[in-house]
Amino acid sequence: MNEFINVLFVIILILNLFALGNSRILTIIRIVALQGIILGALPLFIEHHITIPLLISSVAAIILKGFVIPLIMMKALRDAQIKREVEPLIGLLPSTIFGGLVTALVFFISSQVETTNQPEVSLLIPTSFATILIGFILLITRYKAISQVLGYLVLENGIYIFSLLLIEAIPMVVEMGMLLDLFVSIFIISIITNHINKAFSSLDTRNLSSLKE
């Protein structure tokens, strides 16, 4: 079972790299959705006895991250009618290599740090930090608003993985609150994206920094 959990963590790491290296926004949305589904299912494997609140929050996370948010984003992408290619600040290949190096660095550092972590989730902390940092890379290196939202989602996924450490301590209300926050922010961002598109006829966020009358 522990091995299975570790395999899931590894799949999450691989999806991170694929998200960095892919050139189509639609594919990245699908990758992030898949990551969300795996994340949603993780608590069910980590926890030994499954309770009703755990099940509810897990199913809610799967539905929201795996289906609702991707659908909202696909709709935003369709409405914006933009070119579906990602325009990165640094190229796709360098950013993938950069992501790989960051992952390696995180693993190296976490092997030096003593934690009171139980062995069964030994990949949890490095995976979460690597996912957070890769989310940052996605946020920083992309110009289009939608790609930046995807970076934000990956970042949030990383934080969610870290919160799995406290899975017994977090009440269901808090978890639901987190999911609601995420949902609302994505919802608002999608609307803003539409407005950016209407105002500048592109999704390039660099336009936002130019002042004009």
Binding site: N6, I14, G21, F107, P126
Partner: protein, 303 residues
């Protein structure tokens, strides 16, 4: 003794079936009936009966290259284990020989292509060599992971990674990573679809096919046979690692192995049906992703 006999039998007779399975799967996806499973056997027999046309600009390198390629792949096939039995030849560090046998085969294929003096074939050789330089680090990272997991320095011991070791956390995780990395490598090395399209004869897309354009008759037959065998040999590393995770022993191993190879061919067929060939400039990033996969699995293992 009987194991060596089975090994040779499987190695010599089985490989041309695999591309047939791949093509049948692709035909199934496209809604065609497709060529029969044994098409490649017929093709090879047909080519063996034909005469050869050899360009007057070529030297002995051109004629000798397919034979060297076939013998390199054949020796590599003797080093890999089939099923649970140890391979015919094994010694410390044979994985280095294994890797560079493919290097030698590649050298002669590209040299023969350059020997024809055609600019078109030179382009193919240049691509082949460029991508090969990206394949090698990934393969070595995968081998390092296997050596670290098993503590064995020959391929027969190495590919039994799953069953031979006392599990410690993260070993299956890193095995999954190198299986994925090796699969990308396998597709690239056998010039399958995301990297190269084996069916087209277009200037923009070809890598392997372009280098063998001038070969004809028996030489082409040998090349076809060698590339089918290469498919088998590299695939069998992958299959051996996967099988070793579920520790199966005894004679059933051979059946599981053969079934595994057929499933692998089916998976390749599915991959080819649902994916488009990558733009030539995007191929290096796919190969580098396989280096990253194998490299990070090594890092996970080290901690």
């Amino acid at each position: 003794m009987i194991q060596i006999f089975i090994h040779l039998l499987v190695l010599l007779i089985f490989p041309p079936l695999l591309p047939g399975v791949v093509n049948k799967t692709k035909a199934l996806f496209a809604g065609r009936t497709g060529a029969p499973f044994f098409q490649l056997y017929y093709d090879i027999f047909k080519l063996m009966k034909k005469g050869m046309v050899i360009s007057s600009t070529t030297t002995w390198v051109f004629t000798v290259a397919p034979v060297i390629t076939l013998s390199c792949v054949l020796i590599a096939g003797l080093i890999i284990p089939i099923g649970n039995a140890p391979s015919c030849i094994f010694f410390t560090g044979d994985f280095l020989v294994f890797t560079y046998l493919f290097g030698l085969a590649r050298f002669f294929t590209t040299a023969a292509a350059l020997d024809t003096g055609s600019a078109f074939e030179g382009m193919g050789s240049s691509r082949e060599v460029t991508f090969a330089s990206l394949i090698e680090p990934a393969l070595f990272f995968a081998f390092i992971v296997l050596v670290k997991l098993t503590g064995s320095l020959n391929l027969s011991g190495m590919v039994k990674a799953g069953s031979a070791i006392q599990y410690h956390t993260g070993s299956i995780a890193s095995l999954v990573m190198i299986i994925l990395g090796l699969y990308i490598l396998f597709l690239a090395e056998n010039s399958r679809i995301p990297v190269d399209d084996p069916n087209t004869h277009l200037e923009l897309t070809m890598i392997h096919e372009v280098m063998v354009l001038d070969h004809s008759g028996p030489l082409l037959g040998i090349i076809e046979y060698a590339s089918a065998m290469k498919f088998f040999v590299i695939g069998s590393i992958l299959i051996n690692i996967v099988i070793s995770i579920f520790s199966i022993t005894g004679w059933i191993n051979y059946i599981v192995f053969i079934a595994g190879m057929l499933i692998l061919s089916f998976v390749v067929g599915v991959t080819e049906s649902i994916m488009a060939r990558l733009k030539m400039s995007r191929v290096p990033s796919l190969l580098i992703s396989s280096i990253l996969l194998c490299g990070s699995s090594f890092i996970i293992l080290l901690r």
